[in-house]
Subunit: 453 residues, 2 copies
């Protein structure tokens, strides 16, 4: 029987954990795309409120969560920790598998953990409107929910392919009061330019980011919000790992391995960073990032400075990247289809503090179905990669003749992605490995970028 | 800020509350459709395991929840109780509004509360397969989830209109391992007979029940399961109201009014019956059942014996009913489209222990949108009726110049029903009041039925 371990309502964490304070070295700084110089707060001010810019560069180890933010997080937090007893039994393993479940949030994923503070800090600084992009729809709906909580207008540029294929996510955004348009849209210069040459363009996350950034940069009442990649976004997710530590402490348990899936890196950071603090302090623990074989930024990407978007409007970030022009294959894990990985996550990989693995989607869904039929929760496509990696750890423990405690982040439910399960059962789901030639193509996109010192 | 009040994991109720033990009089007995005589346990044995037949007629006040059942319920129970602070603020009322949220279950509604015990009792008596029907898909998915937990095969006859319109619910059933066919189906005599004369028949809940009952009655390995209406099903839902009582006790609060929406009556019973125990014992409290104007069984139906299904295969139940031949208009609240109301709920209305109100759907969705934008949770179409009734109570309190404490059951989330919100925003949602002529038609269907003594 899957066992749930809950905390009490007053055990919502009171601080975010800032891993920058504990790192043996810092990642290279983001650069201004025009000057090639390290970015200053003023460069970011048109896009973000000062409080978030401050968090982006903070060296404070623990940053207090403001009470109004914590009050909203407490609507669904602390989230449950589960012991996967039934999955363990189905696997015939003595390993102990725990998972943190973020699907209990109103938007169904971990995304509101950062949408809420981002909306609040904007509101505090007089911002009345936020523009953002969304691919799979998770982030757009989370920010729309957050906007409603603090009385902000939200404008979401949703990748057209997703806008057309996922009408439920669009309806969710609108129900919370957000405005959503298919991207490329006629609402921005970036969008209009693309529509003129390619009226049927299905869009991409890179294009949608360009539109949202332009929207924010050209309107006084509007800022921009990003759902992953940036330091402050990853930090907002650390409530997940902090709660997991508290829950495991009550069980007198500690993980040998911590697993999360990586797109931009935020849910991975959320579960992993608090445990990495212990690893940096000397604890013997492995931390594994699981990504899709179709978009293998950490396992096969190049490390270097790259743009966060297609139109080259964002700062240059030091990332493991497949190139800002890379369009990932249309796998079902929309949230993992991003060309780069967060600078902090990329840096941790370089430091050897985390490992990365990549899996094609069919074996991930095979494990997700087993998970649903034992544990009872139908996973979103993204965390199926984490589940696949957990199974690999169980197999490895068996080979090594050891018993391990494994923790992973089930970052969202699959209610909006059941067509993916349909495709899996129908046998029409394809395994896509990124061809070597495309990798070479991606490398070319990085030529001429500033070198990392 | 919406405030959540959680119980601890060990506070999942240990008993179901059986309201039959407290009623001043019992509802008339179900009758055998052939003989017109009260039904005996042997009549039900082909369809239900003996343990559930025992619960159906039990006079015990508190019935212990078996540990293996309670263990699975504990996956998502106790569910949170929320204080609707933000909704109250938006309404400008001093009334206190609380709601119990059942959308945190894996299937997204209250239905697993009874699916789990039903599956377990069947498994204990050697049953290996259960047949059932589903309209909106809530019940079919809940039973499929429950079947996976206890290793039972599940066969779901899903109303064709719903099967075609709600592919996500079908995919959910299959992901948990259940088999699902569109009803009318070629798999039963009842289905084949209808398909022969009407190959494009969109189906109805009454037809799907006929198919599932036939399936169970004609196979030794198979029993039938119903998601509402019957006494034992309503009783399994009383964990909701018991938890709410515990949660309100900790807040030193008690409701003046308890509200739930009614289709068959199970989520209403779940929240209301434990409070009705107090009312029967003399406590001054009102209990309100909210139903759709398009299917107004309690407010406009006739009270009498009627079949539970279209093909007249089920026992005769004493219900407020619109007639077993009644096909409700295609409102978005699929779960409220049933021609009758549970015998216990019907009886409570006759006793004056509960009140009933009916609302057309547009004003329900208007309130649901306000709820989503304040409280953050997007309601399923069914509980939008409960929310509408709560707003009426707030208005009434204002007129009376009093301050009330109101409790309602938010029995599920709207993740699978966002097309309904789309229709609401697009202005294409229709208000449907049952025409008087159809009511007369329904009355005719009851002619010749046994009289209630």
């Amino acid at each position: 029987m899957a066992h749930k371990y809950s905390l009490t309502d007053d055990q919502v964490p009171r601080h975010w954990y800032n891993i920058a304070a504990d790192l043996p070295s810092m990642p290279p700084p983001p650069l201004h795309p025009g000057t090639g110089q390290p970015l200053g707060p003023d460069d970011l001010a048109p896009l973000f409120p000062m409080a978030l810019i401050g968090q982006e560069v903070s060296a404070e180890r623990m940053i207090p969560i403001p009470d109004p933010v914590r009050d909203v997080l407490a609507m669904w937090r602390p989230t449950p920790l589960y012991r996967a007893d039934k999955l363990e039994a189905a696997l015939g393993t003595d390993c102990r598998i725990f998972y943190k479940y973020e699907g209990v949030s109103p938007a169904g994923s971990h995304k509101p953990n950062t949408a809420i503070p981002q909306a609040w800090y904007n509101q505090q600084e007089g911002v009345t409107r936020i523009a953002t992009e969304t691919g799979a729809g998770q982030w757009g709906s989370a920010l729309s929910f957050a906007g409603a909580q603090f009385g902000l207008e939200i404008k979401v540029y949703q990748v057209r392919a997703s806008y057309d294929a996922k009408p439920y996510r669009r309806a969710m955004i609108e129900t919370w009061g957000g405005e959503v348009v298919a991207s490329p849209s006629p609402d921005t210069n970036a969008g209009r330019a693309i529509l003129e040459t390619d009226p049927g363009c299905p869009g991409s996350l890179g294009i949608a980011i360009s539109e949202a950034v332009e929207d924010a940069a050209t309107r006084d009442d509007t800022k921009y919000a990003l759902g992953s990649v940036l330091n402050h976004v990853l930090m907002h997710q650390t409530v997940i790992g902090q709660e997991a530590q508290e829950q495991l402490r009550a069980l007198d348990a500690y993980p040998d391995v911590v697993v999360g899936c990586v797109g931009g890196g935020s849910n991975f950071a959320g579960i992993a960073f608090p445990f990495l603090a212990d690893k940096i302090a000397g604890r013997d623990i492995r931390v594994v990032a699981a990504e899709p074989a179709a978009c293998p930024t950490l396992t096969r990407g190049h490390y270097g400075y790259d743009f966060g978007d297609t139109a080259q409007l964002t700062p240059l970030l030091p990332m493991h990247t497949l190139g800002h022009g890379f369009i990932p294959a249309p796998i079902h894990s929309g949230g993992l289809r991003y060309h780069g990985a967060a600078p902090l996550v990329s840096h941790l990989l370089n430091l050897g503090l985390i490992e990365a693995v990549a899996y094609p989607q069919r074996e991930c869904f095979a494990e997700a179905v087993r998970f649903a039929r034992t544990e009872g929760i139908i996973p979103a496509p993204e965390p199926t990669h984490a589940i696949r990696a957990v199974i690999a750890e169980v197999e490895r423990a068996k080979e090594e003749g050891v018993v391990k405690t494994i923790l992973f982040n089930l970052c969202g439910h699959g209610n909006f992605d059941l067509t993916a399960y349909d495709a899996y059962f129908a046998g029409t789901m394809e395994d896509i490995e990124l061809p070597e030639a495309e990798l070479d193509e991606a490398a070319k996109a990085l030529e001429g970028m500033p070198a990392i010192a």
